[in-house]
Symmetry: C2
Subunit: 386 residues, 2 copies
């Protein structure tokens, strides 16, 4: 929650001056958002990246478009239809909502996405690199939904599994696996939906830029059952244990994987980057590739890292780490607010000091949002299993 | 004592009046709906099947719960939180929405479902037979999302494919296939989501009541590209052609099917029942099993059917039909409104007159809604491929 509020506060601060600029005249080339519900004309997006929303609310006193931490007042016409638009937004995907007389609700014009701790509206500002995740006339893999019971959490859990084109036909072929995690207040639907992980891989595989791989997208929230904890105790995350003792064995038994560390990668965004870094460093017998998208395990600190103590000294022997990890990859958007640049910067300094090989990527013009992570996945997966 | 009884009587009378004014007093055993978003306490459902919704809308003048064709006024407390409840609803799944000062919006408390032509709120009234589609500790099949390009419609389409438990392990086994269609203003997400087709089959297969089968759930809306039609022409449905020349060949090439008519079934609900009856009767070389859930191709007419002319005389030779179709199945909810009982009744009369074997099922206490169709699928699939 603290993490969420901090991000929220940073969004508000970083976009506060945009609110002032809102009055400037919009270019009239608005088109329906590509993630609208079928047949819905609104919301729309123009070439500047402004979002124009519209809703019928004849009796309402105040309707606002709430996007990027700013609430934009909408205007009512004589038929009771409210219309309003935002300042230009960064390219890519954003969560947003409408406010109707104080009620924060999804816009009935859009499809819904899980993020920011709720199922709610999303919008796509067409990005310069949207071809990378466009639905093209190439062979498409499958995204499969898999329900499973977790003994550790004593609850049903779900993951989505991407199997690459050819998986069903080439019955003698086994594939490497990437375990790919979402961020805080998101869930296992993030990567296969707004993350477009399947389409990014379909396109990379079609052009030979990435090797065919399986991608497992699970839920990073996993807690011990409440009955085992004191009444008001903070829930204890057992995600690492779930990953190692439940998810990986299930995937290796159900799918045609190459079940060894050389053919296993793990990556995550934000909270997922933090989690997966801990998981790989504690389980180097299981993984040999790491991707941290907009996150590291020293989050949110920007202080110098002492490799002797950080993560129980897992980075203390740089040479050993280089021998164990084939790809160590970090990414960040150029518009990300603190504490991300600070904490990732401090982490990279530690890596450099320890002589640990790593790749670093910056997504131009994007913040702590999905366009940064789509690009990170696009870059990272091209390096894997080669 | 007399005085006390008088007061009691007046109290009872006054509460009775209130009951008439709105709805009778609800039993206070409300619990959060099972399809709420994670962590959301509202909406709730009680043992009578009443729905209680709640939303913060401090500045609103009128907030209503809109369910089952009735709008129930909600009441605001001093914190600006509106609460209200419906009359008892039928058991099973229902679509609904909230109205805030004239704006019809999804309830931010629920997950969202596609139906009634929009993504919006849904609620589950726990049904007497809910064990049939409960997530249980049995082997679970996969539900896979498959994107494909349709040359006929010149558009990307999507289907969901259920593969039964064991499909990934038993690489030499081939499976029969059920093609299963949604109703009007619904889409390919209906059956794998609110329809719970995968869970119904997982449970039936686990107890040996149904044979392992593949289920293909596609979108029943398929039109010729607009450029081929006159400007204001009604769109021409090519769904049958898409099914026969695009979907079936794709499924047979991508999945391990038994690709012959004896091992193919087709079924649908409402509009889907109408469509799939036409498809099987026009393509008896492709299918040998039909299921019509709350629909027939004479919809909406309740007039006597002339088998010589109806569907180009496909039912004119009853003996021939009996030889061609292994399972001909019809279902209806006992609370369905006209024209469903009338048109399905007229259709059954024609079948009887022609001596055509068929099974008929009535779902007790359910209307033209998903509980009728879950039960229909449960009954129908037990008869298939045996």
């Amino acid at each position: 929650m603290k993490h969420f509020l901090l991000i929220l506060a940073l969004f508000v601060l970083s976009t506060a001056n945009l609110a002032i600029a809102q009055t400037s005249k919009a270019i009239e080339d608005f088109k329906p958002s590509e993630v609208n519900q079928p047949g819905k004309a609104f919301p729309q997006v123009n070439s500047e990246g402004r979002v124009r929303a519209q809703i019928s609310a004849p009796e309402a006193k105040l309707v606002q478009l709430d996007i990027g931490g700013v609430k934009y007042d909408m205007v009512k016409d004589d038929k009771g239809i409210w219309t309003g638009e935002s300042a230009p937004q960064d390219e890519g995907f954003h969560y947003y909502q409408l406010n109707i007389d104080g009620a924060s609700v999804p816009d009935p014009g859009t499809k819904y996405f899980y993020g920011a701790g709720r199922w709610g509206s999303g919008i796509e500002i067409p990005a310069s690199d949207r071809e990378r995740y466009a639905l093209k006339d190439v062979s498409h893999g499958l995204v499969s939904e898999l329900n499973y019971y977790s003994k550790l959490t004593q609850a049903w859990r779900r993951c989505f599994v991407y199997t690459p084109p050819g998986y069903e036909a080439n019955l003698n072929v086994r594939y490497p696996v990437l375990y790919l995690q979402h961020g805080s207040f998101e869930d296992e639907t993030g990567w296969p939906t707004q993350g477009k992980a399947n389409l990014i891989l379909d396109n990379l595989i079609a052009t030979g830029k990435a090797v065919p791989m399986i991608i497992v997208m699970d839920n990073g929230y996993a807690y011990k059952p409440k009955e085992n904890s004191a009444a008001n105790a903070r829930p204890v995350s057992v995600f690492e244990e779930v990953m190692i003792t439940e998810i990986i064995p299930m995937i290796d038994s159900r799918f045609r994987t190459m079940p060894d560390r050389k053919h296993r990668a793990i990556a995550g965004l934000s909270m997922g980057a933090n989690q997966t870094m801990r998981i790989i460093m504690n389980n180097l017998d299981k993984f040999s590739n790491y991707g941290g998208f907009s996150g590291t395990s020293n989050y949110p600190s920007a202080s110098e890292i002492d490799p002797a103590t950080f993560l129980d000294g897992r980075f203390s022997d740089g040479k050993k780490v280089n021998g164990q990890i084939d790809v160590f990859w970090l990414g960040l958007g150029t518009k990300e607010p603190e504490p991300f640049p600070g904490s990732i910067g401090a982490f990279r300094k530690m890596l450099d000091k320890q002589g640990i090989n790593h790749r670093y990527y910056e997504s131009p013009g994007t913040a702590h949002e999905w366009q940064t992570w789509r690009r990170s996945l696009y870059e990272y997966t091209q390096l894997l299993f080669k």
